[in-house]
């Protein structure tokens, strides 16, 4: 169901979170959804660029009337160097 001007922001956020959890392209439970000033913001991290793009598609389809800002980052996978060790005693 697309969002309507009368739908409270809290329910829109709930609907978007459900969509992100269940869409098989992302199955994402850890993206934070907020609505401020009539804009929808997405924050958090995912592991691939494809999932980051899919998140935008899913949320724009779910909320065609809202200005969607995808600020989700793709997590860094750089390999640590040999000195990057924590000694636990």
């Amino acid at each position: 169901m697309p969002s309507t001007p009368t739908e409270p922001d809290d329910y829109v956020i709930g609907r978007v979170q459900q969509a992100l959890a269940h869409d098989p392209r992302v199955n994402e439970l850890d993206v934070t959804v907020t609505i401020k000033g009539g804009k929808l913001f997405l924050t958090g991290t995912v592991t691939t660029e494809e999932r980051c793009r899919a998140i935008t598609e899913i949320v724009c389809r779910e909320c065609p009337d809202l200005d969607v800002h995808n600020e989700v980052a793709v997590v860094s996978l750089r390999e640590p160097d040999g000195a990057d060790v924590e000694e636990l005693t």
């Binding site: 098989p24 992302v26 199955n27 850890d30 934070t32 958090g44 991290t45 995912v46 592991t47 691939t48 494809e50 999932r51 997590v75 860094s76 996978l77 750089r78 390999e79 640590p80 040999g82 990057d84 060790v85 924590e86 000694e87 636990l88």
Partner: protein
Amino acid sequence: MSPVRVAAVADVHCGQDSAGTLAPHYEHLAEHADVFVIAGDLTRRGLPEEAQVLAGELADVAAAVPTFAVLGNHDYHSDEEAMVAKVLDEVGVEVLEGAATTVESEGGARVGIAGVKGFGGGFAGACGTEFGEPEMKAFVAHTREISTRLEACLEALTDADVRIALLHYAPVDDTLRGERLEIYPFLGSYLLAEAIDRAGADLVVHGHAHGGSEKGVTPGGVHVRNVALPVINRAYRVYELG
């Protein structure tokens, strides 16, 4: 006994789109670590074909370094968790589900690893109890059962010089700092820490809390590290014990 170096990561959430994204970053892991542990959420939705992709990414590193994993909540989503574990076992990634094992490091230390998924319930002063509806009782009972199993697994590691508890869910709230308080009961349980403190361990590794913090300690003084990928922001972390 030489120190034991433990490489750790969690929440790789492998999908079909992950092919080729992980293996290059494990290329030098064998130079840095004696064992490699992966703390759950191995796949995006728990499909064997996703596990196949991950198996391909881990095959080389698992051939070079003893590699262990536990499953996370995502790995249970499609009710094919046993097949996910089997696919990984085939490339030498030993999935520990309520099990313990010991491996010898290059320096001659016996490294014991006890692995369970863990579950939620919350922490001191704000936790669920086995009271009321059957669903609520079942929720907390699941955590208690897993915690009891974890304690038995750690106690079974009698010949280990170093003991590691490998979980997906958090045993303490220290490593949840940064997450919203409202979701703490879905991120872990003090029952896991209580089991660890009773049995004893040198290090606890977990994931699941993407917005949390890396470092914590159990009430009994055991180091806890949250190695969820978004928390450590690198391919893996290395901890040196002993």
